[in-house]
Amino acid sequence: MSSDTCAYDYYGEVMSTPLYLLLEKYPLSADYLANHRLNNIDKSKPLLSALTEADIDALEEFGLDAESLVLHFCKFLEAFTRSHTCDFGTIHSVTIIGGIDKSGAAENVSLTLHPGEIVSIVGPTGSGKSRLLEDIECMAQKDTPTMRQILINGVVPDDERRFETGGKLVAQLSQTMNFVMDLTVREFLEMHAKSRMVSNVEAVVERSFICANSLAGEKFTPDTKVTQLSGGQSRALMIADTALMSASPIILIDEIENAGIDRKEAIKLLSGNEKIILMSTHDPLLALRADKRIVIKNGGISKILVTSDEERESLEEIEKVDRVLLNLRNSLRRGDVITKDSVCGIKED
């Protein structure tokens, strides 16, 4: 509401520039015109002159006259160029300062995470893993049931940052998420790229698509509808998209393990872009791939373990076991009879 002054920065330009040139310079203007049913006005003239000749009825229905629409349009341009240039600055660190567990006992921990770091969160169902992710998402300030406090770059985030980023500081992935848009994979990625205002849409879309396909067990084409993707393919696309297109420097993952994706690659991809990743998981392959793991008990952080060399080495063994299980699952799907050999993992796919 205070943007009136800034809107005037565009006023002169909008008043003097023919629409077709404005559309070239600010492609989002096309959406603005479409939203006001003005797609068909004369684009060889500046907006105001074009409007005075257009069907003024339609404008009235939107509660605007020609002049107020011009101002409104300037504000629109202002809002989008501002969100384009203003992001959250750089995130150097996120700090979790302990609160209390479900019985009210103090957690007595302080954990600081830096970009590129991966932390897993383990603990029984109902212990409070999702709660910890929520505390980070809302940047709790001793005002959630856990009394935890979250610092960004070592300081208490101001309300602006806490409440008005529209969730942009944090991206979330969880098992319950689906696609509901009626779009193909390509259209979907393009739409997301547009809303992120990336400059090289085509390249980013292409890269995201290739990544998604390399994570998915079964391959898909860019012309597949997102709603027709299998669970694994959806998850793969969501991960690739979050990793490559989402600007959020913090990624929270809530139990996405049984998704039929290449988990090793997924983690590599997500952490590759200097993001901070926290993932709640029951899956040893994911938990041990993290740098640290937070153990939750009775709603509180009971331990923070650093993944040991021995644990890292044992990952290989765990992967073998995992492969045996995967092969068994595939044999069952094919209708094979399970033999002792298949259990021992001799018959690899």
């Binding site: 806490r162 409440f163 979330q172 992935l173 689906n178 509901v180 009626d182 997301h192 998209d241």
Partner: protein
Amino acid sequence: MKLITVAGPPSSGKTSVILKTIAALGLPKRSVGVVKFDSLTSFDNVRYSENDVPVQTGFAGKICPDHFFVTNIEGAMKWGRKKNLSMLITESAGLCNRCSPYIRGILSVCVIDNLSGVNTPRKIGPMLKYADIVVVTKGDIVSQAEREVFAFNIKEVNSNAKVIFVNGITGQGTFALAKYFSEVPEVDTLKDRTLRFTMPAAICSYCTGETRIGDYYQLGMLKKMEYGD
């Protein structure tokens, strides 16, 4: 008493969001009340009562619920004061995309859900365009990308609004909303305040009960479509 108006398409999550926000406000029991404006039926009163929230329901019947809202909002305020409420929240089912029950100077909240399709923000009209806060629900069901695109489409229609994501089931996100609710100034009366947007003139013969079809019966304010080839 503080007054907040909440509107949104049917089943978008208004009641869920209001209940979770009341919980997050942490005000004394029974000090926040709700008036629900609906058209034909509503079961919201049951949910509010279950949560010990004082509630009144009004049915607009054949009148546009938003017109009904303006006619009855002062009565709602009177009820709220009688009940000694410190905050009154109105919930309106926005059925017609042409209306919006927002009053100048009164915090106006629009609740829409992620499932309604990415282009929905472009179609909702004044209810979204004139809101101070747009609450987006059901984000737990859709992908991060869809949430981002949805928020972007909202911003395209209403670049001034604060967009807040709320999970109506767990209450995640209501923290921020509660903060804005609690910062609202007290109001004594709504007399002489104005709506943010003119409501449409519903004065054709069908508004007054005409049911027959044909030019002869169509009187008053009419608008005829132009058909292409």
